[in-house]
């Protein structure tokens, strides 16, 4: 009893100001975190609040109505369609390429080569989107117009997706390619980091059974990393969904929903960048906000899906095995400055 009572009277070797440091540290860090929460809440509130006039006028029908004449009639159908088509298309191109790069850098090449190519791939993520868009206008669009679109149309023209080529080279398909370029480094870098976490014991185990390198990669590396790969692709798609400027530069901005990929179109993000000017009518401003609400909702869903996949597939791993580090996907995405 004495010892317990005694501790209360231990002479303090620290000054009062030392304890103040603890309080200040806690206060400042808590405040910083609070600011982030408040900003997110305010942004969401403002956007939803701004969208209320359009929401009450159009209701859910806004999602499916595809006319947007800029003065009296506003519908989000065409832009939602454009957003989903461009992002899905970009993912179709970027996912296999990105996974291939991830495999090459993590499994198939020497660490020395990977140390050269890896940072270059990551650098692609650091190129400002407006510059990629500029490249799209100056370099990609002419090639699309003169070569790629006619070739695709000739071979696959019986599919409505590959209709008559565009006259300018800009359009949905060009936007898909641009978005694929932007999603690619994210998928490549995340899958590479993911594949590097596959324990060498597992790979040795497969090789010791007489598996070829491809069989090892397919069975052990890809096989055990499926949820992580899915998450990486979703994060790549999130990048494509939210990209505004580069899309605006190459999509030949028009409010229409077409089967023909070579036609012009629009996306939610591009419309937000293009139409949110100060001299809008109240209804147009509200409609632009409505598009913002929809975009926020899609991005939110996509991120939740990525998290759900990771959580669902986290196996109890006795060896501290390959599924352990998948949660780092979101950290990797943050490091790459993914817009989410």
């Amino acid at each position: 009893m004495n010892s317990i009572a005694g501790t209360a009277r231990l002479p303090s070797s620290r000054r009062f100001t030392d304890r103040v440091g603890d309080r200040v540290l806690f206060g400042l860090t808590a405040l910083a975190s609070l600011i982030a929460v408040v900003v997110i809440a305010l942004v969401i509130y403002q956007i939803v609040h701004g969208a209320v006039p359009a929401m009450s006028k159009y209701g859910v029908g806004f999602l499916f109505h595809d006319t947007w004449n800029g003065s009296t009639i506003f519908g989000g159908g065409a832009t939602i369609f454009g957003t989903l088509v461009t992002s899905a298309g970009a993912l179709l191109i970027a996912a296999p390429l990105g996974i291939a790069i991830g495999l090459y850098l993590s499994q198939l090449t020497s660490p020395r080569t990977a140390a050269v190519i890896g940072p270059l791939v990551e650098l692609l993520a650091a190129v400002p989107s407006v510059i990629i868009g500029l490249w799209g206008i100056v370099v990609l669009a002419p090639i699309m117009r003169s070569t790629i679109e006619p070739a695709l149309h000739n071979v696959l023209g019986f599919i409505p997706l590959f209709g008559s080529p565009s006259l300018s080279g800009s359009g949905i398909f060009t936007a898909i390619v641009i978005l694929a370029i932007m999603a690619l480094p994210i998928i490549a870098a995340i899958t590479r980091d993911l594949f590097l976490t596959v324990p060498s014991e597992l790979k040795d185990g497969a090789l010791a059974l007489g598996a070829t390198r491809w069989e090892m990669v397919r069975g052990v590396v890809l096989g055990s990393m499926r949820p992580g790969i899915a998450s990486a692709c979703i994060l790549g798609a999130a990048r494509a969904l939210g990209e505004a400027i580069a899309v605006l530069q190459v999509i030949g901005f028009v409010f229409q929903a077409h089967a023909n990929l070579f036609d012009n179109g629009s996306t939610l993000a591009a419309t937000l960048a293009n139409d949110a000017t100060s001299n809008n009518t109240t209804l147009e401003t509200a409609s632009v906000f409505y598009l913002g609400v929809i975009l926020l909702g899609i991005e939110l869903l996509v991120n939740l899906a990525a998290q759900a996949i990771v959580r669902h597939y986290r196996l109890p791993s006795a060896t501290g095995g390959p599924t352990q580090k998948i949660v780092d996907v979101s950290a990797a995405a943050t490091a790459l400055d993914v817009e989410m």
Binding site: D204, G205, A208, S317, T319
Partner: protein, 290 residues
């Protein structure tokens, strides 16, 4: 449970009675034919410029259990991993000298390591089951090798062969990661024998197992040597004495500031443990080492 005291590292008490270690007699093994499976002659292994293991010459016999013992870093794992070319992926690895398998030079140009490993299976220090079901762990290799006929029987035979069938037969579809360490290691042995290799290389297979699991794996090795040639690397001298007909003692040669693994002595286990010809072997097996 009787095995458990043997798991304790060599203590001074054993110095007084080195002969007390129970030794596997080579003559007990009727299946051994004396046929040479591996023939190593003056094998040197380099990692980059560094000579890791020098001048290893030994013959490994069919249906024998051959143990490799010695202190850490003496190159015993390096040598055993060289037997199925698992070192190929180690950067800077280079092997000189003759290393033949049934008379075929394992390191001749044109030898496909995939074919080598198909015949020479390996079980590793840490149990490394794939993050798949128990069934798929076993069935994976037969599937990729085109041995798809009667796959269920093959899986059952492998699991029975590794003495784990009774423990897992009701949960074949559950994850292999849910098994205990000892079960996982026997699963890995089952995985290796499912493709009916010729040789099993065991690289310290019991070092992460408890004494009971260790005993079960050792019993299993006695069963397996009827069908397979087994090479086991072990830190545990008693284990070598218990299971192996022949034992190779590796040591470290520290000269001119370099540490190189060397093969000190290779003989019948009973002789190596009771009448070693080399002073270094005697010091090691009697616990006077280092």
């Amino acid at each position: 449970m009787d095995e458990s005291p043997a798991e304790v590292d060599v203590t001074m008490s054993q110095v007084a009675a080195p002969l007390a270690i129970e030794v596997q007699e080579a003559s007990e093994n009727d299946a051994a034919t004396g046929e040479v499976v591996f023939d190593l002659h003056d094998v040197n292994v380099y990692y980059g410029q560094a000579l890791a293991v020098a001048g290893v010459s030994l013959e490994i016999y069919k249906n024998h259990i051959t143990a490799m013992i010695g202190p850490s870093g003496c190159g015993k794992s390096t040598i055993v991993r060289s037997l199925n070319r698992m070192n190929d992926s180690v950067s800077g690895f280079r092997l000189t000298g003759e290393c033949t398998y049934h008379g075929n030079d394992l390191y001749a140009s044109g030898v496909d390591p995939v074919e080598v490993r198909r015949r020479i299976g390996m079980v590793f220090q840490r149990p490394n089951p794939f993050p798949k079901s128990i069934y798929d762990n076993i069935a994976w290799a037969p599937r990729i090798l085109g041995l798809k006929e009667n796959l269920d029987e093959r899986v059952e035979k492998a699991l029975r062969g590794a003495a784990i069938w009774d423990e897992v037969k009701d949960r074949l579809k559950t994850s292999a990661l849910g098994l205990s360490g000892g079960q996982q290691q026997r699963l890995c042995i089952a995985r290796s024998i499912a493709i009916e290799p010729d040789v099993l290389l065991l690289d310290e297979p019991c070092s992460s197992l408890d004494p009971i699991s260790t005993a079960s794996v050792e019993d299993l090795m006695q069963e397996l040597k009827r069908d397979y040639t087994i090479v086991i690397v072990t830190h545990n001298m008693q284990q070598a004495a218990r299971v192996a007909e022949r034992t190779a003692f590796f040591s470290l040669d520290v000269s001119e500031g370099r540490r190189t693994g060397i093969l000190v002595e290779y003989d019948e286990t009973s002789k190596l443990f009771t009448r070693p010809t080399d002073k270094r072997t005697e010091d090691y097996v009697t616990g006077r080492f280092g």
